[in-house]
């Protein structure tokens, strides 16, 4: 029974993976990728790892792919042009890699012949929520915390990058002479603050805005 399920879901995973790579419409690729994730989750269930399966569906299929699909929908990405000509030099490399992968698979299949196909002892509680939780908060606490700090860094980094690009666009110019600026232009944190800030000279305005006045002047209109 479990062999039959494995064949069904493995077939689905491979089919979806091939569809993901071969589709020209990016949205179809994304949907195929969701199919791959869900098939893999089903295989995890048959391998007595229900927690991993649930997390796979919630995090990958439910959260990350929703964002990907949102981006594809909102940007209205056109069909990808066939780029065979530009990437032609990669074909020998890909064939070589595929050969190595096949050799590895053959080696694994060959070496597994000599080991029993059923693991000895009771392993049924390895994939349960309790044992994973105990593992994460005792033996593997340091890697767990380091990973969370890493994710936090990524979030803060993305926030700061996104904010900086919205404060001043890359083609901002400093107008020569005396001028009045709104507070929320000068200070990115004062969102919606429209109190006027008067500058006496061009250099002062450039300083307030954080733009290099000299290089700006040299650029053509």
């Amino acid at each position: 029974m479990s062999t039959l399920l494995f064949i069904v879901f493995a077939g689905m995973a491979i089919g979806c993976a091939i569809a993901m790579v071969s589709q020209t419409n990016p949205l179809y690729s994304a949907i195929s990728l969701i199919g791959v994730f869900i098939s893999l989750a089903s295989i995890y269930v048959t391998l007595a790892a229900p927690f991993i399966a649930a997390v796979q569906v919630i995090v990958y299929a439910g959260a990350i792919m929703v964002l990907v699909i949102f981006v594809i929908m909102l940007l209205n990405v056109e069909h990808a042009e066939p780029r065979r000509r530009r990437l032609k030099f990669l074909v020998p490399l890909a064939v070589g890699m595929a050969g190595i992968l096949l050799a590895e698979t053959a080696f694994i299949l060959y070496s597994v012949q000599s080991t029993p196909d059923r693991l000895a002892g009771n392993i049924s509680n390895v994939g349960l929520t309790r044992s994973i939780g105990v593992g994460l908060f005792t033996g593997y606490l340091l890697p767990f915390e380091v990973t969370s700090v890493l994710l936090l860094m990524a979030i803060v980094g993305a926030m700061s990058l996104a904010r900086r690009s919205t404060v001043l666009s890359s083609n901002a110019r400093v107008v020569p002479g005396v001028q009045v600026l709104a507070m929320d232009i000068v200070n990115p944190r004062a969102v919606g603050d429209l109190r006027p800030v008067q500058t006496e000279t061009t250099a002062e305005a450039a300083h307030l805005l954080g733009v290099d006045f000299q290089t700006d002047q040299n650029q053509p209109e």
Partner: protein, 343 residues
């Protein structure tokens, strides 16, 4: 009968799934009718009362009428995804049902003793959340594949709302998980059987229950959070281009979602099938279970007849700036309580 035999077990599972499916479908029909009748009562009207006794056949008449309509597919739509979207919506809605126990272990004449549940597994709660999170695709893809600006905006609004409130929904359940120490819904229900079947989790988790209820109403796109299909403002949102059986699937999915979130609230906070007298008469548990679900469904209709709709920015502010921090506060409070007092 030998219930442990593999083939008999498979057969029993198929029968159980069929019974659960039919029950849910009948409950959907009853809810649709009840919604119209109760709303009419609230608004001082009569409502549909001509088809069958008191209008009981009205949902079936509507079903046949909708089926007979022409199945339109927009010319410029993405055909495959257009077909796929309502299927995703209804399948993910229905898949969540298998984890809920309808009653305790009962003994029936000629059939023997068996538990009234379809599946019991370690991560039942995570399974429910996972299935719900996949359900967003049904709406997002429906809006996109129609190739209609209004449908796309409706789909985006709806999926943004569902993603935002999914977080608060998940976090509001963590308090219950902390108290029970398990993700298995069947065990969570069994733990609430103390005090003659009245030791419900709502006593320990009042804040969690209220947060869950609000998030669940938003998650199912009901009043006062029904912006995705605000019928007085939008042209029906994401399902503008859908007609006939495909529209019916979306319609069904919404009502099935209402029933499943009511089931989750019942099992996690209101003791599931627990109640006075269940220990003596196990079949009473089924009555309690459905009575609690019907209470939540009535609450949905009652709210629809009472409350006006949120504006979209109010909706987002409420979800992210009030509901989410409150859910985190609930987790902190519960964890502190469990650490110093509990167990």
């Amino acid at each position: 009968m030998d219930w442990n035999n593999q083939y008999i077990h498979s057969l029993v599972l198929i029968v159980a799934i069929t019974v659960a499916f039919l029950t849910i479908m009948l409950l959907v029909a009853a809810t649709v009718l009840a919604e119209r009748r109760v709303l009419a009562l609230i608004q001082g009207r009569l409502g549909p009362n001509r088809v069958g006794y008191g209008g009981v056949l009205q949902p079936f008449a509507d079903f046949i009428k909708t089926m007979m309509k022409e199945d339109l597919v927009p010319d410029q739509s993405t055909k495959f995804v257009f077909l796929l979207a309502p299927m995703i919506a209804v399948v993910t809605a229905i898949m969540a049902i298998i984890v809920y126990p309808f009653g305790p272990t009962v003994t029936l004449p000629f059939l023997g003793t068996f538990p009234l549940r379809i599946a019991q597994f370690d991560v039942a709660l995570l399974y429910v959340l996972g299935v719900t999170s996949v359900g967003v695709y049904g709406i997002a893809l429906a809006g996109w594949s129609s190739n209609n600006k209004y449908s796309l905006m409706g789909g985006l609004r709806s999926s943004a709302q569902m993603i935002s409130y999914e977080l608060a929904l998940g976090l509001s359940l963590i308090g219950v998980i902390l108290i029970s120490g398990t993700l298995d819904i069947y065990q969570i229900v069994e733990q609430q059987s103390g005090w003659h079947g009245l030791q419900w989790n709502i006593i320990y988790q009042p804040l969690g229950f209220i947060l869950y209820l609000i998030a669940a109403i938003a998650e199912t796109n009901r009043v006062p959070f029904d912006l995705p299909e605000a019928e007085t403002e939008l042209v029906a949102g994401f399902h503008t281009e859908y007609s006939s059986i495909k529209f019916l699937l979306f319609f069904n999915a919404e009502y099935i979602n209402m029933i499943t979130v009511s089931m989750l609230a019942t099992t996690l906070f209101l003791g599931g099938w627990n109640g006075p007298g269940v220990a003596q008469v196990p079949l009473l548990g089924v009555v309690y279970f459905f009575a609690k679900i019907l209470f939540f469904l009535f609450l949905y209709i009652w709210l629809r007849g009472t409350l006006p709709r949120f504006r979209f920015d109010q909706l987002m502010d409420f979800g992210w700036k009030f509901l989410l921090p409150a859910a985190i506060l609930n987790i902190v409070l519960t964890a502190t309580f469990q650490f110093f007092v509990g167990s």
